[in-house]
């Protein structure tokens, strides 16, 4: 039993010298995640990773919503690659899962169709006078954390273990559709049993919950929330997942896509307000973390510097279970030390 074909397939992940591309939305939703990733690579692992200041959108959401034509996306992707080429890097690492899907798709198109590659070179030349090379290695940051999960473990102060019961934390993992569902072979573990997050959880002491709707959509689904009329469909999908995972009493959810992380976090609040329903038995909801936040917490980074106070579902009970210290008074303190106003409390979810 337990034959997993992903064991036979290992994705190529470069060892060093990465060109990092930030996400349009992640810095707003999870403001500490990208900084934590850079810190882990540079300070914990001693890697060379470039945080380019002249970068811009990959057009992902516009492309998938059919408002950006593919030629534009190809040219904009080419400009981002030109920044990488100019900086002397060959390994491209986009922070966002949608960007990862966009780059994977565009590289695939340009490799399969040399005429489109040539046309894109011409378009970029005309628009900006720049030249570019396709990346030698294109991976998502979660691939890199997965690759170095045991190296990071050596530096971790905490494990995914409930210090009160001494049992592994029960974790729901969710990968973004654009990580492995468009090109399954580009994801560790492919699309059916993705192992990129499961591998981190298992390596760091936790247990992965294999619940029935594990592969179901998180509820993000661009058009489903971009069009207000469709948002009921979005939240219905999230609800289906929560109901499916609820009997397993997950300690937290971890995801590698900005949409999944945000919607599984925020829709819990909306469902609680609409239906007076929460998905943990004590009424607090299930915390939702990014994989950088999960790793950062275990490495001992300050929860508030990781930006965890910006999550809808509060994380203190999870921190208590792991045994991570935090200062409640510092929760809403700005970087200049100023005490910021606390957000309004939800009427149903406990905080």
């Amino acid at each position: 039993m337990n034959t997993r074909y992903w064991n036979e397939y290992q994705k190529e992940i470069a060892d060093d010298k990465y060109f990092y591309e930030r996400s349009c939305i992640r810095q707003t939703f999870f403001p500490g995640s990208e900084a934590a990733f850079l810190k882990m690579l540079q300070e914990e692992l001693g890697k060379d990773i470039r945080d380019e200041i002249n970068q811009h959108t990959c057009t992902g959401i516009g492309y998938h919503a059919d408002i950006v034509p593919i030629e534009t996306t190809l040219t904009i992707v080419a400009r981002l690659f030109s920044l990488m080429t100019e900086a002397g890097y060959e390994n491209y690492v986009p922070s966002c899962v949608t960007s990862f899907g966009i780059f994977t798709e565009m590289v695939h198109i340009m490799k399969e169709h040399p005429d489109i590659l040539e046309q894109t070179r011409e378009n970029l030349r005309k628009a900006t006078g720049r030249e570019f090379e396709l990346p030698k290695n294109l991976v998502h940051p979660s691939d890199i954390i997965y690759k170095f999960r045991y190296e990071l473990k050596k530096k971790m102060k905490y494990q995914l273990i409930n210090r009160f019961t001494n049992k592994p934390l029960q974790v729901v993992e969710h990968i973004g559709c654009h990580y492995a569902k468009i090109f399954p072979e580009k994801g560790i573990g492919k699309a059916e049993f993705p192992h990129v997050l499961a591998g981190m959880i298992e390596a760091w002491g936790g247990e992965v919950i294999d619940y029935p709707e594990r592969r179901h959509c998180c509820g993000f689904g661009f058009r489903h929330y971009l069009l207000q009329e469709n948002r009921g469909y979005s939240i219905a999908n999230s609800k289906k997942k929560f109901e499916s995972m609820e009997p397993y009493e997950p300690d937290f959810i971890v995801a590698n896509c900005p949409g999944c992380t945000m919607f599984m976090d925020k829709w819990q609040y909306v469902i609680a307000e609409m239906e007076h329903k929460t998905y943990d038995k004590d009424g607090y909801g299930i915390p939702v973390l990014t994989y950088e936040e999960m790793a950062g917490l275990l490495l001992g980074y300050d929860p508030w510097k990781l930006g965890l106070q910006l999550h809808q579902i509060q994380v203190e009970r999870l921190l208590d279970k792991i045994g991570i210290p935090y200062n409640p008074a510092q929760k809403y303190t700005g970087v200049n030390g100023e005490i910021l106003p606390s957000p309004e409390k939800p009427s149903v979810l406990k905080v």
């Binding site: 337990n2 034959t3 997993r4 074909y5 294999d210 619940y211 594990r214 592969r215």
Partner: protein, 337 residues
């Protein structure tokens, strides 16, 4: 007396051996397992007449009792080479035998269902295969994952056959009727269990098959759903949740079941693939290519190498036996002085 090596002591090998022996050929019948008819021993009943498989085993074993047949068990043939007008057969112990002709009856294996990860075989205990279900029926031991009588059993057709993703584009031919047969057998053992069969289309090609399909619905309350199952997962109480599309009603469908039975397709066995390659007679998907499907379907392009049974293509047991008779006749016509 001319000597024939028959490779594989399944129904085809034994049937052909018996006919050739009675026609004064000396037969060396090679079998890689410790016993002949290994694929038949765990079968319960055979379609379309629900013949107990044991009766066929007994009948075939009786045919082996002939002075011209030498059964060589635990002797997997690993190499074939031509020496002048003869063939040299070499077993796994590197012992060689010179023969006038070779009949390949190395048969089939079944698709490894764990390759279809989305269906959960090898991951969830409640997901099983048609091979394992046949054993459960044979021994009348049909239980769910916690040892109770299953409330619902779902069969899924075309696992590893007619499936581009798994690389097997061909129809495995026998799975449709096998699922109907197994469902009827399960109903006889478990009168209260809900039984579903998910299918793409049901290919009831043989005599009595269509009637069996009709009686499965009318007499045995087997429910047929036209649709593929897209994924299986485990529920909190250790049942199997499946998702599918009912393509007749055009609606998605989700249900839980105690057992999900994957009807695994037939593939060329490793022995078939190996010998086919060595003699340059391997065809698509590893099955052995015959000289001409109409006029010489037991001959191959290799001189004095004949072929019969499911090493050519997916085939039912009765077709296999008929094909073996045809192969024996071809050899007699070609080799008899």
């Amino acid at each position: 007396m001319k000597k024939i090596a028959i490779i594989g002591a399944g129904p085809a090998g034994i049937e052909a051996a018996s006919i050739l022996a009675r026609n004064e050929f000396e037969i060396l019948l090679f079998e890689k397992s410790a016993n002949p008819l290994a694929n038949l021993l765990d079968k319960a009943y055979l379609f379309p007449n629900f013949l107990p498989a044991g009766e066929l085993v007994e009948s075939l074993n009786r045919q082996l009792m002939h002075e011209n047949i030498k059964l060589l068990t635990d002797k997997e043939v690993i190499r074939l080479s031509q020496e002048n007008d003869l063939w040299k057969v070499i077993d796994k112990y590197e012992k060689s035998y010179l023969v006038d002709a070779v009949l390949i009856t190395t048969g089939y294996t079944t698709f490894d269902a764990s390759q279809k990860e989305e269906l959960g075989y090898g991951i969830y205990k409640g997901v099983t295969t048609s091979i394992e279900m046949e054993k459960m029926i044979h021994y009348k031991q049909i239980f769910n994952t916690i040892g109770e009588t299953p409330q619902r059993i779902v069969f899924l057709q075309c696992v590893g056959s007619r499936d581009e993703k798994s690389g097997n584009n061909y129809c495995s031919k026998v799975c449709c009727v096998t699922a109907v047969k197994q469902a009827i057998e399960v109903r006889k053992i478990l009168p209260q269990t809900e039984i579903y069969i998910f299918y793409m289309d049901l290919r009831m090609w043989g005599k009595g098959f269509e009637e069996m399909y009709r009686s499965a619905q009318e007499e045995y309350d087997i429910r047929f759903v036209r649709g593929r199952i897209s994924e299986a997962s485990s529920t909190f109480n250790k049942k199997v949740q499946i998702k599918a599309e009912d393509t007749l009603s055009g609606r998605p469908l989700k249900m839980t079941t105690d057992l999900l039975v994957l009807m695994v397709g037939m593939e060329a066995s490793l022995g078939t693939q190996n010998l086919g390659k060595q003699c340059h007679i391997d065809g698509k998907y590893g099955f052995i290519e015959t000289e001409n499907p109409h006029t010489a379907d037991n001959k191959t392009s290799a001189s004095q190498v004949y072929v019969a049974g499911s090493c050519k293509k997916p085939m039912s047991i009765n077709d296999t036996i008929n094909d073996a008779r045809s192969a024996a006749l071809t050899i007699i016509n070609n080799l008899k002085d």
